[in-house]
């Protein structure tokens, strides 16, 4: 059954991509969506099938050039196939309606084709079984994403964002090539099976790990390699953003786990420590920068950085505990990381789709121009609210279930008898707690300013609910957010199987049964989100019934209370900037905000103000401290290299000849 499913999904994506080139307008959009949907459902089914049966699918095409193409679906791939399939299905459904407003403005052909290519490359990516397949699909994925980011090429900032994305991604890609070259250790087939068995010295293994960390870290948007992410994700079409943030960056996690866990089979404790530390820093700084954003999609993009941090906290803790010989705790850490990966794909996908609906209806992403949408687009608002609550880790939704597991893992770290770990764990717990608290603040802001109160612009006031296909896309993910949230007793054993299927690391199967006992040596904590959800609903309904029976039922509609002032205008509302102001002050040392206030007084009296202009920006000192030096060094190098460029054709030909001669000399006498 598995090969058929794989074939089906590849066929679906290919058909979608070809349809995009062949058909235009409504038909084209429908076919693109159908192809992508069919492909992603097949992907989902393939993943579920492999995970449920434990089957391993192997497919090889050695007749292809170089080392040939090789695919293999093991349990880890199966899990990531599910992640890809879920987010992609929702995004393609949504994309049908969403891309309508691109018709005639931007190239729907490119969008549809590249979207399907991206999904295809994602599917193949997690199945890759040799270095060549992995790297080629990686590059296809990066490039198709690049073209998708460029869709709205005439908007300000899009090209710059895409270039940043391309640059950073390729830097990461270079690191990956190096990592695989070192890992292959002279074995020219580059097959993963060979890499698993090759015995490298600890120094080489460390090198591979660090290179892989840089390579996959750029994809995952780990701080400080995140700079491209908040630029590139917001400018892409929203259903693409959902896939980029929901799935593409997860390939960083997949790659990291594939290389460190599967190919290298685990490493020393400091590997885990580094991943954990990067995770904690990404989680905290990601949300802190998200708080300062009032571009809805950029805010979500920064939250992707945060959530990648949370995932890495789990994975890093897993790696670390594994090296300390605590397999149960390590398994828990990996499970927490994977669980959050799946959850993040659902709620971040949902939120990006919601933000896309807002943009679709109002033509803006700036929260300061939004407001009041809950009355104009009630269904979008409800969906976004669920997503916001899920990403804020509020029970009983899915974000909470996985964050709870991360917390439990980290608390279990107190068992490790090393002072540096013992000191690090409470700090990691505190950073995680702070970032989840700030996420609540951030999403109160995101939802409250965007959807509640009065519209702050005429565009927002004229907004209408989005078409049904977009709503269905969002509803699908809403359902997943709730379902994944209340069923950890199903998800955790499945994830446990996904890890155990790797067969490379000692894994303790972990159960999470409905009636609760959930314990790993050293970590005990119990909860049951399902009972909690039922209880909450019950208590809420009960309260409503009691209130209806006993309390007064009169209700009158009046003005908003504002100390008796006349009329209420949107200018009286709290803005996004104002909402985040207390936190900006608290973390002023980090943000180093620049403020610019200019007041235009009335010439007669300074008690009357004509206009006030206030501008405040947060300094992106990451870019300044880390990237500016690198970039200026590159520019300097480029300038120096330019000296060889004389414009003379003969000179260039001479370079070629010299290069050829040198190569021949090297090839002949190097052995």
């Amino acid at each position: 059954m598995a090969p058929e499913l794989l074939l089906l999904s590849v066929a679906g994506y290919t058909a979608g991509a070809l349809a995009a080139l062949a058909f235009r307008g409504m038909v084209g959009r429908a076919l693109v969506a159908a192809g992508a949907l069919g492909g992603s459902l097949a992907t989902l089914a393939l993943g579920a099938w492999c995970l449920a049966t434990g089957a391993t699918l192997v497919f090889a095409a050695p007749w292809l050039p170089l080392t040939g193409f090789a695919l293999r679906a093991d349990s880890l791939s199966a899990f990531f196939l599910i992640v890809v399939g879920l987010a992609a299905a929702a995004a393609s459904l949504y994309g049908f309606g969403y891309s309508a407003h691109y018709d005639g403005r931007y190239s729907l052909r490119l969008l549809g084709a590249m979207f399907n290519v991206l999904l295809l490359s994602l599917t193949v990516q997690v199945l890759a079984d040799n270095a060549l397949t992995f790297l080629v699909t990686w590059e296809v994925m990066s490039l198709s994403a690049y073209f998708l980011v460029l869709t709205e090429h005439d908007q300000a900032g899009t090209v710059r964002a895409a270039n940043w994305y391309l640059g950073v991604t390729h830097a990461g890609f270079a690191a990956l090539i190096a990592a695989f070259l070192v890992l292959a250790a002279g074995d020219m087939t580059g097959s993963f099976a060979a890499m698993r068995s090759v015995g490298l010295t600890p120094g080489t293994r460390n090198l591979v790990f660090l290179l892989a960390l840089v390579g996959f870290g750029t994809k995952a948007g780990v701080i400080p390699l995140h700079v491209w992410l908040p630029m590139a994700h917001p400018v892409a079409p929203s259903h693409v953003s959902a896939v980029l943030s929901g799935v593409v960056i997860k390939m960083g996690v997949y790659g990291l786990m594939r290389v460190t866990l599967d190919l290298l089979g685990g490493g020393p404790a400091w590997w885990g420590g580094i991943v954990l530390g990067l995770g904690a820093v990404s989680a905290l700084l990601g949300v802190l920068y998200a708080l300062m954003e009032h571009d809805l999609k950029r805010l979500l993009a920064y939250h992707s950085v945060e959530n990648m941090g949370i995932i890495l906290l789990g994975v890093g803790a897993g790696l670390m505990f594994q090296s300390y010989g605590l397999p149960a705790l390590a398994t828990l850490g990996f499970i927490a990381g994977l669980y959050h990966t799946l959850n993040h794909a659902c709620f971040k996908g949902l939120l990006f789709l919601g933000a896309g609906s807002v943009q679709y209806a109002t033509k803006t992403r700036n929260m300061e121009d939004l407001g009041g949408l809950i009355k104009r687009m009630p269904r979008t608002a409800a969906c976004f609210l669920v997503g916001a609550a899920a990403i804020s880790a509020l029970p009983p939704l899915n974000g909470f279930a996985s964050e709870w597991l991360v917390f439990q893992t980290l608390m279990g770290g107190a068992l490790v008898p090393r002072p540096e770990v013992a000191i690090g764990m409470p700090i990691a717990v505190a950073m995680l707690a702070l970032s989840s608290g700030l996420a609540v603040a951030c999403f109160v802001k995101a939802f409250g300013i965007t959807f509640l109160a009065l519209p702050r612009s005429t565009d927002a006031a004229r907004a209408r609910e989005v078409p049904a296909s977009m709503q269905v896309g969002m509803l699908l993910l809403v359902g997943m957010c709730v379902a994944l949230g209340v069923t950890p007793f199903l998800v955790v054993p499945a994830l446990s199987r996904a890890l155990a299927g790797l067969g490379r690391i000692p894994v303790t199967p972990i159960g999470f049964s409905l009636h609760l006992p959930f314990s790993v040596a050293g970590v005990t904590g119990e909860m049951s989100p399902l009972l909690l959800a039922v209880g909450l609903a019950l208590l809420g309904v009960l309260t409503a019934i009691v209130l209806r029976l006993l309390a007064d039922r009169r209700l009158r509609v009046g003005d908003t209370w504002g100390c008796g002032r006349i009329g209420q205008t949107p200018r009286m509302e709290y803005t996004a900037t104002a909402f985040a102001e207390p936190l900006r002050r608290v973390f002023a040392e980090l943000y180093r905000p620049t403020e610019d206030l200019s007041i235009d007084f009335h010439p007669k009296s300074k008690y009357f103000v004509r206009s006030i202009a206030y501008r405040s920006e947060v300094q992106p000192w990451f870019e300044r401290l880390l990237y500016t030096p690198v970039l200026s060094a590159l520019r300097g190098a480029a300038a120096r290299v330019r000296q060889v460029q004389a414009g003379s054709l003969h000179l260039y030909l001479a370079y070629l000849t010299i290069a050829l001669l040198v190569l021949l000399v090297v090839a002949r006498w190097s052995r």
Partner: protein
Amino acid sequence: MDATFSQLAMLGSSLMLIFGLILLWRRRVPAYINAFTGQSVALAGVAGATGYFGTESELYWVAAFVLLLKGLVIPSLLRRMGRRFGSERELDPYVNTATSLLLAGLLVLFGYAVMRPLVVTSRLPTRASMALAMGLILVSLFVIVTRKKALTQVVGFLMLENGIALLAILGTYGIPLIVELGVFLDALLGFLVMQIFVYRIHETFETIDVEQLSRLRH
């Protein structure tokens, strides 16, 4: 028995550490002086407890002496100084309050890490508390480095001295009384010298903000 002693020593050391942290949180000199008094009383308590459980009768004398000197004499001298410059608050330290507190927390953790080998190898029931004493020393140094007002720095210095005394008592069950006395007298003398300096600074600059001292260079 040992368990109780260990708990008591921990309790006393934790109290002293918290009194030390008050220096970072409050801004008024009387609060500093009260914190120092409390810390000295706690030190006396620890010394007394060590004397009782470690059967070192000399430590009772140390306890009494600490109580007298640091619990009564120096605080009253400090209050007299405080009355003179009491209106000067620690308003604008080099590192703001919240960050200071967090850094102090990290310093204590660092102290714990530093003392870890000793804690592991030592068999003393007080071994756990020594990490806290180290933390107190580091926090006091931090106060002296980041605070601007001379009076704050004086209190910081006195707390540093308390921390060292605590470490000595916990680590060695009290060095000979005569050495201890010498150290105390040293501290008292140091304090008196500083007191004179503070008065002079105030006379010269009309403030006890030691940042002003950089003007002396010219």
